[in-house]
Amino acid sequence: MSEPVTAPPRTGTRIEFRDVTKVFTNQRKAETRAVDGVTLTVEPGEILGVIGYSGAGKSTLVRLINGLDTATSGQLLLDGTDVIGLSEAKLRSIRTGIGMIFQQFNLFHSRTAAGNIEYPLKLSGMGKAERKQRVAELLDFVGLGDKGRNYPEQLSGGQKQRVGIARALATNPSLLLADEATSALDPETTHDVLTLLREINREFGITIVVITHEMEVVRSIADKVAVMEAGKVVEYGSVYEVFSDPKTAVAARFVATALRNTPDQVEAEDLLAHDGRLFTVDLTEESGFFAAAAQAREDGASISIVHGGVTTLQKQSFGKMTVRLNGPEEAIETFRATLARTTDIQEITR
């Protein structure tokens, strides 16, 4: 009997990067530090989102995990085993325990959906009858029970990625690597695929590393997020921490793309065309915004909300609001000073 897809939760892989560096040398001997001194731990069963612009080194970082690229220095421990410097044969056996999905799906065109899913099972030496059963289970699990005989070109993008996911899960891996797995999909399909990944993580306890350039992806499924820039992890923390209080400029830019709760430059200029002063206030549960607003009104100022958004992340809500104040200078200054004590407030000026 093969292990049913709905097996009891296993323990996901623990990944530990210790000062890992990958240097590529091109033909003219010029060096590129694609990954530069990364130290990072992914706990078993966690979903880590790695975000960065293209060329930041995130793809390389993830390819080091399953040894598709070999790190130049450092240690990379998978459940305590350092994969750096392992022989190709040893790496092959480690790779059978790691699933990987890709932006372009990378399905075998010469095989049907079922044939694609069966491939890693064949590699693992599973018998034919068992393989057939397992493939049927996996097709059902990803919601493609009737598409087994279809060839990749007969499937939509979302269906192809589902086949990719089923193929990656076939050998019951304890780690799943997703390299821009939703970047070629439309928003709705992206949502479906992310939901499926989340389900896989919850149901099987598999550790998942998701590479993306879309903060929305991180927001919807990741527990932790690592922001990469020029080969380095410049910011790391829980998704809530990074979203509510990004420390670096690059993280702030990514957060802004997903939240859109502060006016961008064009919007700010439009808003500044009117009278009054503009403030952007961080809203947290303890921000005291409403009390300060009530006080400002009492002092004779008028206040109106002009931009903003509140969202829920990891069961906590937070957001930003931009307000316009008109009226006596003292009232406005009191409003600003009060909020500066309890939260973050910034004036938008030209």
Binding site: N66, L68, E88, A89, R92, S93, I94, R95, T96, I98, M100, F102, Q104, N106, L107, F108, H109, S110, R111, Y119, P120, K122, L123, S124, Y151, E153, R167, T171, L177
Partner: protein
């Protein structure tokens, strides 16, 4: 303008012609099988040993690449003369059908090698990466990913080579290899018998047509188009 020529004596030539057709078919098939397989191996090695390939090896790639570039441009008729010593040591003679087949195999192998390599280069590297990520080794990747993924174009490549091999077989007359080409030269060209030459041409065209149709059909089936 009138052309006079002796009417072909098919009663006399008939059986010789049939024998020639048989010889051509044998020479071409054996060459396609042996030369084709050898070419497949060299082509796959060219593709997999290049930088970034699953068997990446600079020296092997370099040697094979130079060898293929060296042998491929040599005209077949000169290759027959050039390889005579090798043919002698391997086949035991430099004339006759076996000697002809031997040289055809060498020539075909190197031509096939390039065509195989060119078709393999077109494979999406992503699928090879996916197989690697699943723990497949280089030989598994070659047999279960690279060759199946490129099968359709490979069939067309072999069809293309088939015609070149038929062309080669026509020149084997020079070393007594027999075949339709030889027949056309001996009984057609040298006997000033245009009808015989035309008959030989028609048979060759038919063989090539059949091969092309078969190749197209097979590759379409593989590519599901």
């Amino acid at each position: 303008m009138t052309t006079t020529y002796l009417a072909a004596d098919w009663d006399r030539l008939g059986s010789t012609f049939l024998e020639a057709i048989g010889d051509t078919l044998v020479m071409v098939s054996v060459t396609m099988i042996i030369g084709g397989l050898l070419g497949l191996v060299i082509g796959v090695l060219l593709y997999t040993t290049r930088s970034g390939g699953v068997l990446q090896s600079k020296p092997v790639y370099w040697v094979l690449n130079v060898l293929v570039n060296f042998i491929r441009p040599i005209p077949f008729i000169i290759m027959i003369a050039m390889f005579a010593p090798l043919t002698l040591s391997v086949v035991g003679t430099t004339i006759g059908r076996s000697a002809a087949i031997f040289i055809m195999c060498i020539a075909a192998a190197f031509a096939v090698a390039r065509i195989v390599e060119q078709n393999l280069v077109a494979i999406d590297p992503g699928v090879i990466e996916a197989a690697r990520a699943m723990g497949a080794g280089p030989w598994k990747i070659i047999s279960t990913v690279i060759l199946p993924e490129a099968l359709g174009p490979l069939v067309l490549g072999y069809t293309f080579i088939f015609i070149a091999v038929v062309d080669m077989s026509a020149m084997d007359g020079y070393i007594g290899g027999g075949g339709i080409g030889d027949f056309a030269i001996v009984y057609g060209y040298r006997a000033y018998d245009l009808e015989v030459t035309y008959a030989a041409v028609i048979v060759i065209v038919i063989i090539v047509q059949i091969a092309q149709l078969l190749g197209n059909w097979l590759s379409r089936k593989i590519l599901r188009r």
